[in-house]
Subunit: 256 residues, 2 copies
């Protein structure tokens, strides 16, 4: 039975999509069965896994509005054991179209209930907001993984995100836990980066993964080839970091 994890942070550009794709591929390379769900209207997880936006017919929009079943949306990837539920263009209108739908916050949870048994992990890439799409992801999830860019504005937004998680746990999904915070795009030579990481570890202790993701040019290049870093350049610092994150996540799960 899969554990569902939402990759979320309303701050933009902090590495949500990059973490979703590369953690998923690293877990698949470790023999796990993984499903990526693209819940961001931008569709970056979809194109980063090799499917240009123009090639997508049915997508997560259709699943949320109950217009078709999961089998007709599910796509394989070049990586064995890694599948994706792609985003289609209609997703831009999902939040308004869902406003009058019954149980609008539980739509994704219902969809994923039909496929959880086929995977070990389901990773949901969220848009940079705390609207109805992100709420759907939090209600459907067991845990929330929060990429934290090593920058000033990123720390500012963390409080709002934690409040939202607590609110969802209280009213809609009592099992929702924090999977952890992962520091991204960090540069060990930069004071500000070191300061953000230090502050996060002081405030959240073990709530922050030991693994940090360094800023690495190859991570920025991989999406233009439609490949995760573990396929594009498996010896890069970026690939090593995401393998380490996958191993740490697996160790925490089977922990003491």
């Amino acid at each position: 039975m899969a554990r569902v994890v939402a990759i979320s942070n309303q701050k933009g550009g902090v590495g949500k999509t990059t973490t979703t794709i590369n953690l998923a591929a690293a877990l698949a390379a470790r023999g796990q069965r993984v499903l990526v769900v693209d819940l961001d209207p931008q569709g970056n997880a979809t194109s980063g896994l090799g499917y240009p936006r123009t090639e997508i017919g049915r997508g997560t929009y259709d699943l949320l509005l109950d217009l078709c079943d999961v089998e007709s949306v599910l796509l394989p990837t070049e990586h064995d054991g890694l599948h994706v539920l792609p985003a289609n263009r209609d997703l831009v209108g999902a939040e308004l179209d869902l406003v009058d739908v019954d149980q609008r916050e539980r739509r994704l949870r219902k969809v994923l209930g039909t496929v959880r048994e086929h995977y070990d992990h389901i990773l949901v890439d969220c848009p940079p907001s705390l609207g109805l799409l992100t709420i759907n992801a939090l209600v459907a999830s067991d845990g929330v993984l929060m990429p934290l860019q090593a920058e000033y504005y990123a720390m500012e937004g963390l409080g709002e995100l934690l409040r939202t998680i607590a609110a969802v746990r209280k009213s809609l999904n009592p099992d929702l836990q924090r999977e952890g915070i992962v520091v991204t795009m960090t540069d060990a030579r930069n004071n500000l980066c070191r300061e953000v990481e230090r502050q996060a570890r002081t405030l959240f202790g073990d709530g922050v993964f030991q693994t940090v993701i360094p800023r690495n040019v190859r991570l920025g290049e991989a999406p233009s080839h439609g490949k995760p870093i573990v396929q594009y350049d498996p010896r890069s610092m970026g690939a090593k970091a995401y393998f380490s994150l996958a191993d740490e996540l697996l160790a925490r799960r089977s922990g003491p």
Copy 2:
């Protein structure tokens, strides 16, 4: 009479807030009267101009829902000639609260109509989405300035943004023009950055500002001091770039 410009791109983390704050401060340093409107629930433009989130009472949320007038929200900054309409926490709920409001897309336009005569420029910082807050900004604006991060995913999203601008021009604001695209966080030594800039200039020609904003550590540091770069470190590459952008914008306005 002020020209209103929305700083918008639904892709997250591309430099919208950094461009809003620093272009505004550079214009003010050139003797222009400037108003920054923070329409992003994250409130980064507000804190980047020196007002911590916790200090904000009434904000743009109250203006959109017609709960008070502009005078009771308007704040000065350390920079002469630069004022700000701050974001308050309630803004997180604005898009849902506006759904049933009459003329919901024109709320900001109505608000700014009462202050335009006091400024030369009004810059509206938008959230990373194409929802009702961004639509309000586009309906209220004369032009749209689009920060384009020199990265692969950023190019992908540009088409959707241009389609949205065209749709708003057709149905809600016939005067809406493209102010231009400004390439941000670029590194001349990086192939991907050069490639994104080359593609943008090929596709959009003069629609792309000559000025590019380099990746510059000081730009990332300035917000933690609550100051625009032109105050925090006026001799930095970041400050020079935003002065150059301000000068280019002014030259285009009074152009041939």
